[in-house]
Amino acid sequence: MDLTPLFEQYPFLREAATAFVVIFVDICALVILLAAGRERRRGDRGWAQESRGYMLACEGTLYPLGAAEILIGRHPAADIRFSDTEVSRFHALLCLSGGKWQIEDIGAQNGVLVNGRRIAKPCTLHQNDAIQIGKHRMTVVKGSGKGVIE
């Protein structure tokens, strides 16, 4: 099957074939990208599993724990941010490791209190634990939704 003479006779045939193939390949790539959108939901569920579905409830606000390290403090880059001066700029770090959430005091002036006691070293959190940062009281709650380990 030698198509070279045909192409030489009708040069646009080759271009049409190329255009068709290229567009086809691109459609495949696009579909793969769309599949990535689905992967996002799957990634979220995977994360829910990793993070055990924990969230922080504080004065009527629910803070999601959507990353392995969550900074609590007065700093604008902090994911859980309190603006009053009793909270240090970098106050505490929530950290997910080995399936457990731990809270750590990272040089806070007023300290971090878990269930009323000031912590000196990283402390593992459980459901319904009370955390106090400055005057803010937070409770560890478990959200319900898809992918949560029951």
């Binding site: 392995a68 390290e69 700093h75 040089g107």
Partner: protein, 422 residues
């Protein structure tokens, strides 16, 4: 404890898409060459490797399909391109390194999928970094960047890239660890990154090859940008102006202090010296013009006789045979890899640092290669990840893709520990 099952994105479906895309391209090759044994061989190898690749994926990790599928697609396309340049001949070496890159991707994923562990291993990365630097300094012949092992040549500077990305990424915890010396407070991690950047700059200067310096500077630059985001109250206008001025001053200084051969490249008019210094670029640009939108057809190019047609000016070679449209689409396809973190955001500071580092490496490399060969910026000898021929760069790019996969599907739980806990 029960566990709700996560429905995986159907792998066979994505595999099918990759197979269809590759088959379509092979059809085009067959239209050019006819159905010869060589074409059949190429088709068989590419399609089979797609199969085998996806089976391997089932065993390693079933998440992060985007990175893996795009990687399979790009590697197959690149094998087809490289096999067709100037006539059909299966690019065995290129294919072998493609397979290597795929395996490297999985390996580096396994190493870096736990961000805590990857960061804990930082001393190891520093050791690796200095081992590679020492290798470049002492093992490469005549200030080149290549180690000749007889049967194969290794370019250690390519492997410095992923190691450097690992060094530059940092978690917020590391940033909060401050040391103090003579009353000056500093973050040891940042100091080490600056030191490593300096070492690379000095080494590149010594090698008289400043081609990949922009890549390293971009990685370090973005690493520090992320750090500023972590630790600054906000990026004030004054700080921004100061940073921009610093970059400008550095650029002017580099411009003035650049060695003679760089100056020559910055000022040369390629059309004035078409058979001398401008030869490659003139040929490359003419080839793009000749290729037009849809190319001359696979195997019909003439650029293959020009030096570096498969590496430094590979964009033009693809343009000539497959057309500008295809070449642009291929480039965009490679960009899908770093773009994957836009769909699934990373979940830890270290991984986000890795992802931005990889994006910087990929994009700066492609910018230097494509825009350099098209005479918009000075021409340097860097490669397009996964598309250019070259074993070291291929494997290094594979490692980088593994970082992206790690950012997509992090594993924070040590699985064996959980099992033991049960």
């Amino acid at each position: 404890m029960t566990q709700t099952k996560i429905k995986p994105v159907s792998h066979p479906f994505l595999l099918l898409l990759v197979l269809i895309a590759h088959s379509a391209m092979m059809l085009l090759v067959a239209l050019s060459f006819g159905v010869t044994p060589e074409v059949v061989k190429l088709a068989c190898i590419v399609l089979t490797s797609d199969f085998v690749g996806s089976i391997i994926l089932q065993f390693v990790q079933r998440e992060a399909c985007t990175v893996d599928t795009v990687l399979l697609l790009v590697l197959g396309m690149s094998t087809i391109y490289q096999s067709c340049f100037g006539g059909l001949e299966f690019a065995t070496k290129h294919f072998a390194f493609g397979v290597g890159a795929f395996l490297m991707c999985q390996a580096s994923y396994v190493v870096t999928r736990n961000p805590y562990r990857a960061e804990r291993l930082k001393p190891l990365w520093y050791v690796l970094f200095f081992v590679l630097i020492a290798a470049i300094r002492f093992l490469t012949g005549s200030r080149g960047l290549w180690i000749d092992l007889g049967f194969i040549t290794i370019q250690p500077s390519e492997f410095v890239k992923p190691v450097f990305v690992l060094i530059c990424a940092s978690s917020i915890r590391t940033q909060l660890k401050k040391s103090s010396l003579l009353g000056i407070h500093f973050v040891p991690d940042n100091l080490l990154v600056i030191l490593c950047t300096g070492v690379i700059a000095v080494l590149q200067w010594w090698c008289r090859d400043l081609g990949s310096l922009p890549t390293f500077l971009a990685v370090a630059g973005f690493a520090f940008l992320l750090r500023f985001c972590y630790l600054r109250e906000k990026i004030s206008v004054r700080l921004m102006v100061f940073l921009i001025l610093c970059v400008c001053a550095a650029a002017v200084f580099a411009w003035k202090m650049a060695p003679a051969y760089v100056q020559e490249r910055l000022h040369s008019d390629i059309w004035a010296d078409m058979s001398g210094t401008g030869y490659q670029q003139v040929k490359a640009l003419t080839a793009i013009a000749e290729g037009g939108w849809f190319g001359k057809g696979a195997g019909n190019g003439s650029l293959v006789h020009v030096a570096a047609s498969r590496t430094d000016i590979v964009f033009s070679t693809i343009c000539e045979e497959w057309g500008l449209f295809t070449a642009m689409m291929t480039v965009i396809l490679v960009l899908f890899l770093p773009a994957s973190i836009l769909t699934v955001p990373p979940r830890s500071y270290y991984h986000s640092g890795l992802a931005v580092g990889v994006a910087a490496v990929f994009m700066v490399q492609m910018t230097l290669n494509i825009f350099g060969s098209c005479n918009l910026i000075p021409f340097t000898g860097v490669t397009i990840p996964f598309i250019s021929q070259g074993g070291s760069s291929m494997l290094a790019s594979g490692i980088l893709a593994g970082f992206l996969k790690a950012a997509q599907a992090p594993v924070l739980t040590d699985r064996s520990a959980v099992k033991g806990g049960k």
